[in-house]
Amino acid sequence: MSKLKKDQGLIAAIIFASVVVSASLTFFGMQLYGGGGNLEEKIQDGIEAYVQKQAQPQQRPSVNAEDFVDDDAFMGDANAPVTIVEFSDFQCPFCKRFADGAFAQLKSEYIDTGKVKLVFRDFPLSFHPAALPASLAAECAREQGGDEAYFKLHDYIFANQDSIPGNLTEASEYYASAVKGMGVKDTATFKACVIDQKYQAEVEKDLQDGQEAGISGTPGFLIGEQMVEGAQPFEAFAQAIEQELAK
């Protein structure tokens, strides 16, 4: 091969490598400095997840559930000594697992006894198209029927998780028929509320607050100054609650 062709090949290779490496560095730089600084958090989360699969509460510094209560629906005594903030996705199977599993015992042993106040906040994940309409519908139900209507629809959604619609128009019809008897009297207003995404900002605020609190997936729980991630067994929640009660 002539020297000219060899030089051309070398130049082409250098240009190729330079472009790719520069683009990579730019991409990673944007992740670090322009993407909300998520890379370090994701690396840390990844390392923790690989090294330590655990059902124990994870200690995260500077997190207090009281700071993330906002004005969302809650159950239990408003003055309960321990606050739990649950960030949940209505289409997430693990959130359903919690609702069908540990929640019942949590409610009977801690919420109904006045020890815990549970606040439910939305954390719809982008790959769950039916989560946002469900969140909007629940907020619209709460508008007319209060927290009681909210949690009745919450239970209904998780009980019928496999059939909740992802389209807003379909969702408005679907949930309008579901909320009859849940304290929602004006279904026309309810449907308009869902279709117009009246509580979009509220749901987005829940999402942002969850991210700020360090929630990386659903369900995620702030229990006092602790965080429990995932649909853990009741014992994991009990341990965290007892530690908070002892303070």
């Binding site: 091969m1 062709k5 060899k6 051309q8 090949g9 070398l10 082409a12 290779a13 250098i14 190729f16 490598a17 472009v19 790719v20 490496v21 683009a23 990579s24 991409f27 994701k42 690396i43 989360d45 990844g46 390392i47 997840a49 690989y50 090294v51 699969k53 655990q54 059902a55 996705d89 997430c92 199977p93 693990f94 959130c95 697992r97 994940l125 982008s126 790959f127 769950h128 990386s216 997936g217 659903t218 369900p219 995620g220 991630e229 995932g230 649909a231 853990q232």
Partner: protein, 153 residues
Amino acid sequence: MNLAIFSLLKKTSYLFVALGVTFLMFDLAYYVMTTLPGSRNEMCVIGAGFTTLNIVFSVVMSFLSALLTVGILEVGMSKRSVSTSGLGVLLGSLTVFCTACTLPVISLFGFSLSLLFFTTYADILKVVSMVLIFIALYIVNGQVQNKCNICVN
């Protein structure tokens, strides 16, 4: 076994190509790891595949893919059956093997890459993709050394 394919990296142009391909493959793998939905620790997360093991696996696979690319280019250039344009070199180099080698190399390369990107990074699929790419490297290594028993050179 004489790993002639590694010695190709002593050539500056191939070294740069390998560097570029490694970065390119890892960037694609990184994007997939951090954006694919999944589950971890009993919860739904975005980027569940972004774990230490998957990062290490992606780095190794990216390097091996780069090595394979360099090997294919070397065989293509040495056969002198390609055009001098860059794309022509790349495409033409994929045709320089006889059918006995072309099909397995391309399919093994393709399968390895597809397993890298479109899996849930299950351990067994990692092992399969590594085995496939090592088989492809073995075939290309033989071609680089002109030791193919099937092709008549």
